[in-house]
Amino acid sequence: MKQNQTKQIVTLGITLSLYCIIAALALSVTYSVTLPQIQLQQKKATEESMKSIYPDAISFTLCTDNEQNPIFHNQVIDNCITLDCIYEGRDQTNLLLGYLVKGSSLGYGGPIVFIYGLDLDDTIHSVSIIEHSETPGLGANVIKDHFLNQFKGKLTSDAFLVKQDITPITASTITSKALSEGIKKSVTYVRENITELTNENEN
């Protein structure tokens, strides 16, 4: 009797393992097939938004420090604001057009991942939203041009305060605040710590 039971358990275990192994195999095959494509898509998405900021640029390189690690990577500035990385945008003549700052800020429905261009003369070039999960119809209007265009040409020393120099999205103060604060704080942080970077570039 007991032996029988043990046998049954072993049989069941083997069956389940078999199913799992087959499933795992199928998954790994799909994964390996699709992985390059997925990476390509993600890169394309970032690149597209970078391109939309600096249409003249042809190369975007990740800024790294001396040990070849990306600088400011996952740098937490505030509880809800994180810097992701910084790219340099250069045109055909290898001329530095500006920096592209990628970061995220916690909005109403989750992190808003943004990227913006920082011109060499300390003005915001333009802002683009890569990812967000704001309320459709309200906070989701954060991707609309009439809101984002307000940041164009702003000096890093400007206030970036909602209802003062930034007109918020209607009935979505949190989203508007999140983005403007995210830009302000990240740009301030970058300005304070970028000296080495600019030096490096001048060299």
Binding site: Y108, L138, K163, T170, A171, T173, I174
Partner: protein, 317 residues
């Protein structure tokens, strides 16, 4: 010999009927309404109120016809719904808003079976619908005696705190209290003229249309809780629609409890949630949702057994 009509006792009835009670609420709203009309100008308010009432009555008749219910659209309840909805809208909003709001309010009532069966206060449902659907319109306020938009003291409070509010009133607390009492501030049509609201409450209490429990516990809780949270308690009972809600919305018969003890719990709950929304949520005003939330648990509050006079607890052996 002649045959007389046979009915069961009692053979006389009180003259007060549903229509009387509903009309009493409408009449009690008049002082605050007149205040609002004077403060915001009649062009910004009167057409809005009229359209809201007409649309409520028409929608009620429409639904009753459609659902083959007894036609009672003139019993005053639809008028009250439309009236209340108009009074908790900002002045000067596009006129199609109250029409849609009233329609939706009546819809929310009829879909549950009409007057007496609706779990939520129809006027508040109408307002909630408008606030959720057209937030831009429902949060743009008119300056008193002017056509310039402004923000309500509460919105200023949630943005900049008390100092910002005082800035609106030349930095003096007493000026603030005074002008808020007389309604010289941004806000909904019906909620700004505090004296009118108090007159309305007095009328409702004197005619025994409502009992004191809900308004008193509601206002008392708002006063106490905001005081404990370090907010100027007088500011917090004068601002926003708390008084309007406590006097006219939370006391709605159908959606509030019937027993005195339950009424007290209900009033406390409304006040508490209201202050919590004001303080901790991303919303300057919380009256609408505080009352709607308490509406949800009204059946639960009423689900108790009142002990009769001379009740003796049976010994459990």
């Amino acid at each position: 010999m002649s045959n007389y009509v046979i009915t069961a006792s009692p053979h006389i009835r009180n003259k007060i009927n549903t229509a009387f009670l509903m009309n009493m609420v409408s009449i009690s709203l008049l002082p605050a309404t007149i205040g609002g009309i004077v403060i915001f100008g009649w062009t910004n308010t009167l057409p809005l109120i009229a359209l809201s009432i007409i649309s409520a009555v028409v929608s009620e008749a429409l639904f009753q016809k459609l659902l083959k219910l007894p036609m009672s659209y003139l019993d005053g309840s639809a008028i009250v719904t439309g009236f209340l909805l108009a009074l908790c809208c900002p002045p000067g909003i596009p006129l199609w808003l109250p029409v849609i709001g009233s329609f939706f309010a009546i819809f929310s009532k009829q879909v549950f079976g009409g007057l007496g069966h609706n779990p939520f206060n129809p006027a508040l449902i109408g307002r909630a619908f408008l606030v959720l659907s057209f937030p831009a319109h429902m949060t743009s306020w008119l300056k008193p005696f002017d056509v310039v938009t402004t923000s309500t003291p509460l919105a200023v409070f949630s943005e900049k705190g008390m100092s910002g509010v005082l800035g609106l009133f030349q930095g003096s607390v007493s000026t603030m209290h005074k002008s808020m009492f007389w309604g010289i501030r941004g806000g909904c049509i019906g909620e700004v003229f505090i004296l009118g609201l108090l007159l309305g409450l007095a009328l409702l209490l004197l005619t025994k249309t409502i009992q004191w429990y809900v308004p008193v516990t509601y206002m008392g809780t708002v006063f106490l809780v905001s005081w404990m949270l370090g907010m100027d308690p007088i500011f917090s009972i004068l601002s926003g629609g708390v008084m309007f809600g406590a006097f006219f919305m939370a006391t709605d018969y159908v959606t509030s409890p019937m027993l005195p003890q339950s009424k007290i719990i209900y009033g406390f709950g409304c006040g508490f949630i209201n202050v919590m929304i004001r303080f901790f949520a991303n919303m300057p005003e919380g009256t609408t949702f505080a009352i709607l939330l308490m509406n949800v648990i009204t059946p639960m509050l009423d689900n108790r057994i009142k002990k009769p006079v001379g009740f003796v607890k049976e010994k459990t052996s």
